[in-house]
């Protein structure tokens, strides 16, 4: 067999031979490109290089869940909602791998909500990408657990009456050790957040605002379109006061546990919240709750990143302790109870 030299610093080395089948114009294309470019960038430095053979993308069902087919790595396209559980087993059996989990809002928050919160609270070493388009795409346009109240869809002709989940609040509530938000129109921002999530030891949740141009077009336009960004996107930077606006004239304060947007001039710079990745979860929660609609200034970037014991390491250290006096012996096991000889 001849070795085919592949240059992992180039995007095509991370691109599989499968035809991508998302609708033209779908936000998923941008996310896929960012993921491929990110791996190419990591390959430029031997210290950050991850190999395709050591990388696995695990997904459930939905448009987003087709993602693994398009990465030239190992992959599993599994069952609706179950990807965090399946990925957990893979990560436990193979702590040496980089395991990514990809799913949409229906996959992760509706049918798979239980698996998601448990993967997060256990802090298994998984990087979970939640493509939030606030709609069911693959089943052709029903409201999702992140759709706004009043949403008119095929299954809610009179408008949805379900209050939605805020994925960031949910993840913080599950005591996730890494929580971030990015969006499909900014490749640089995506790559930066993906890199941090990937480097984090433990479970990371990245919410990606993703446009479904067929069933929910423009859901995030008021926030993520280039012209709106300055006034509507709040960039969270560790160690910096939270400020935004074209004139950098707005900021965020937390009063009685509640975050609010203020004019900097009204309160003074010192009153602004200084963002800390390792702040108390109540602070992360307050920031997450700042925006629960599509019209308010919305925080992006890393909400939370804290060090905590990682699950696969804890499991492996229990195994190592049990094997301290050598590996198990089958004969010893069989004779470990009371025995008698005839």
């Amino acid at each position: 067999m001849t070795e085919v030299a592949v240059d992992l610093t180039k995007r095509p080395s991370w691109t599989s031979d499968q035809d991508v089948r998302w609708c033209p114009g779908c936000g998923d294309y941008g996310i896929l490109a960012a993921m491929q470019f990110m791996h190419a960038e990591l390959a430029e430095d031997p210290a950050t290089l991850v190999k395709p053979e050591d990388t696995v993308f695990v997904s459930g069902i939905g448009c987003a869940a087709r993602f693994p087919y398009y990465m030239d790595t190992y992959g599993m396209h599994t069952i609706h909602g179950r990807s965090p559980a399946i990925a957990t087993g893979l990560a436990l059996a193979r702590p040496d791998l980089n395991v990514w989990v990809v799913g949409g809002d229906g996959d992760m928050l509706s049918i798979g909500g239980n698996h998601l919160i448990h993967a997060l609270r256990r802090n298994v070493n998984l990087t979970i990408l939640l493509f939030n388009n606030q709609i069911y795409g693959l089943t052709k346009g029903q409201y999702s657990p992140t759709s706004e109240v009043g949403k008119v869809t095929k299954s809610t002709p009179a408008g949805s009456i379900d209050p939605p989940f805020n994925p960031i609040s949910l993840a913080v509530g599950a005591r996730a050790t890494f929580v971030a938000r990015t969006h499909d129109l900014d490749r640089k921002h995506m790559i930066d957040v993906f890199k941090q999530a990937h480097a984090h030891k433990g479970a990371s949740l990245v919410e990606i605002y993703q446009n479904c141009n067929v069933f929910n077009d423009g859901a995030f336009d008021a926030i993520t379109k280039r012209a709106a960004r300055d006034e509507m996107m709040i960039n969270l930077v560790d160690g910096e006061p939270i400020r935004f606006g074209a004139e950098n004239d707005k900021g965020v304060v937390i009063t009685n546990g509640r975050a609010e947007v203020v004019k900097v001039d009204d309160v003074g710079v010192d009153a602004l919240v200084v963002h800390r990745n390792d702040a108390d979860p109540s602070v992360s929660f307050a920031l997450a709750e700042l925006a629960n609609d599509r019209q308010s200034p919305t925080p992006f970037g890393v909400f939370r990143a804290v060090d905590a014991p990682e699950y696969t390491e804890a499991m492996d250290s229990q195994l190592a302790a049990a094997q301290a006096n050598g590996p198990g012996d089958l004969h010893d096991l069989l004779t470990s109870g009371a025995t008698w000889t005839v």
Binding site: M1, T2, S16, Q18, K51, P52, E53, D54, T55, V56, F57, V58, I61, P68, Y69, D72, T73, Y74, G75, M76, H77, T78, I79, R82, A85, I86, A87, T88, G89, L90, A91, L92, A93, R94, D96, L97, N114, H115, H118, M315, Q318, L319, A321, A322, Q323, N325, G326, P327, G328, L330, H331, L333, L334, T335, G337, A338, T339, W340, T341, V342
Partner: protein
């Protein structure tokens, strides 16, 4: 009472008796004491010869309260001996279980030999010198009862004393109370003139070897550990607690020195899912469950089937449907194992037939899963799982090698002549696809639940391909028939009737057949370990008998498969009481069949 029964069993096994047990306990953890629903019973059969069941009826009944007497008296033979705790026969307890009059006084125990023993009082007296409260002392009364029965049956006390000392090592007061009660019970048997005779049950003649006493759940767990050693793969268990399967998880969790990873998931689905993820990573992966849990695993089993990854699913069957009878046995998940998935989804089904056979059945399920890259269902049941028997330990060197090779290099060439990896290119003999695990450079591939193109494994909606893949998956499983032992007939091969069993009924059927042969009847018997696919010679065997009787602890599931597959006129014998067959039930049914078809 479970603990007391367990100690009596272990000691009997140690002195070389053959044993069979039937533990019976309520599904509730602290079921109201003194009520019929709260009775915890333990039936043990000890013998100086080979036995197969816990026995149809008992010689001795120990009743710690009126409820126990009321619920268990039907299991005592006429003229049998009753030891009852007279301290518990007060008005309140009698009323609790619905006795209108004291059964000791109204003649309902006439015909039995009744020994009334004030067990609470005697236990408190025996522990009087110790620093224990009266209420705590009374808790040791089961050990007093065990002492009495140990005297009756000449069992040594030492193994139980040693056991108490190690079990309660951190609570010396409990050790001394239990040991004093045990000894006092024994002394009571010796000194009172209550008992006319003492029984000596000699060791059963057994094949030479080293024996241990084992339950089905422990044997299953050990079988999975052994399969890991025999395959050279790390064992991974994804599970969720459920009665009566949890003990497999508990046992596995104690043996991390074998590199076994156990994961208690958030639910049944995640338990199965995590196992499947581990299988993709190259582990020998399995999941355990019972009752409704098996329904929740269906979608993951379907995915394993579609991805063609090895996965062992262990179903400790219990009474259903729904929550049903959590602590009682039944064999009613056979159709579920066969067909309980959507789509055309055949998978191998293996059934264990005795507590110790769970060990070998687990290894066999793993062998098939690994070799054929398929989910395999292993069926045990509540009776096997919690019942115990002496087990002649196998020589580890005699266990089969079940190792398989991972694929580490491309297995094909593409149109341009470059080496490539086709994830669904099958082995010609087994039809198994290659198993290449993450970490292997150059073999990156994606598996999914969407239909895959033959060979490449790419997503395919092609009509002809789907039919081909459906047939290939089926042919792969059917082909296993050539890789499993033929069924062996127990008998001369020309009996008037053939009894066909599967799973945990082996003991009941064997003892029934032995009884019928003693009566001069010509009865043959087979017992199935592999239910899907069937052994290659099964059809010929069935067709060579005029009468076929299929005893099952369900409403006739195997019998339907046999009739459908082989067009034989097999007759069902059904029982769904949460209890094993008695030998008598099988004998009577066989005689009835012979009569109507004479």
């Amino acid at each position: 009472m479970q603990l007391t029964g367990d100690r009596f069993t272990s000691t009997s096994a140690l002195v070389g008796n053959d044993i069979a047990t039937l533990p019976e306990f309520p599904a509730e953890i602290r079921a109201p004491q003194g009520t019929l629903a709260g009775v915890s019973a333990f039936q043990v059969h000890i013998s100086d010869h080979d036995i197969h069941t816990p026995g149809d009826i008992s010689d001795v009944l120990v009743a710690m309260n009126p409820a126990a007497l009321k619920s268990q008296l039907i299991r005592l033979k006429g003229g049998g001996t009753i030891l009852l705790n007279s301290d518990a026969f007060d008005e309140r307890n009698l009323e609790k279980c619905g006795y209108e009059a004291d059964p000791r006084l109204d003649g309902s125990l006439d015909g039995y030999t009744v020994h009334e023993i004030a067990m609470n009082k005697l236990t408190v007296e025996a522990t009087a010198d110790l620093d224990v409260k009266k209420r705590d002392a009374e808790r040791s009364k089961n050990f007093f009862a065990l002492g009495v029965v140990s005297w009756m049956y000449t069992r040594p006390l030492e193994p139980t004393i040693e056991w108490v000392e190690s079990k309660f090592a951190s609570r010396p007061a409990v050790v001394s109370a239990n040991v004093s009660a045990l000894k006092a019970g024994h002394a009571y048997g010796e000194t009172t003139e209550m008992f006319a005779n003492q029984y000596v049950v000699e060791a059963a003649p057994a094949k030479p070897g080293t024996y241990t006493n084992i339950t089905g759940n422990t044997a299953t767990a050990w079988g999975m550990i052994a399969a890991g050693q025999l395959s050279g793969l790390p064992v991974f268990l994804g599970s969720y607690p459920i009665t009566p399967a949890s003990d497999i998880l508990h046992e596995l969790s104690r043996h991390k020195n074998f590199g076994v990873k156990t994961f208690q998931a958030e639910d049944e689905i995640a338990g199965a899912g995590a196992a499947l993820g581990a299988a993709f990573g190259g582990a020998l992966a399995f999941t355990t469950t019972s009752g409704p849990g098996i329904a929740l695993k269906g979608e993951t089993i379907g995915l394993a089937l579609s991805m063609e990854l090895p996965l062992v699913i262990i179903d400790v069957q219990r009474g259903g449907p729904s929550t049903g009878l959590p602590t009682k046995t039944e064999a009613s998940d056979l159709m579920m194992a066969m067909y309980g998935r959507h789509g055309e989804s055949p998978m191998p089904v293996v059934a264990a037939n005795s507590p110790s056979d769970c060990f070998f059945a687990a290894i066999e399920a793993c062998r098939l899963a690994l070799k054929y890259r398929t989910p395999v269902m292993l069926l045990t049941d509540g009776y096997l799982a919690t019942g115990a028997e002496p087990w002649r330990l196998p020589d580890v060197a005699d266990l089969p090698d079940i190792s398989v090779e991972f694929t580490t290099a491309p297995n094909a060439t593409d149109d341009e002549g470059n080496p490539t990896f086709l994830s669904f290119m099958r082995d010609e003999d087994t039809l198994a696809r290659p198993w290449a695990i993450p970490g292997t450079p150059g073999l990156e591939h994606r598996l999914g639940g969407l239909e895959k193109a033959d060979g490449t494994g790419n997503v395919s909606y092609d009509p002809g391909n789907h039919e081909l893949m459906t047939q290939l998956r089926e042919a792969k499983v059917n082909g296993i028939a050539a890789d499993i032992p033929l069924v062996e007939v127990d008998g001369d091969g020309d009996g008037d009737v053939l009894l066909v069993g599967w799973g945990g009924t082996l003991g009941s059927i064997t003892s029934a057949v032995n009884r019928m042969r003693d009566e001069g009847m010509k009865v043959d018997r087979i017992h199935l370990t592999h239910i899907h696919p069937f052994a290659a010679n099964l059809g010929d065997i069935l067709r060579s008998y005029r009468r076929v009787l299929v005893p099952e602890l369900n409403r006739g599931q195997l019998v339907r498969l046999l009739r459908a597959e082989f067009l034989v006129d097999a007759t069902p014998l059904s029982k769904v009481q949460g209890l094993p067959f008695t030998g008598e039930e099988i004998v009577n049914a066989t005689k009835a069949l012979l009569e109507v078809t004479a």
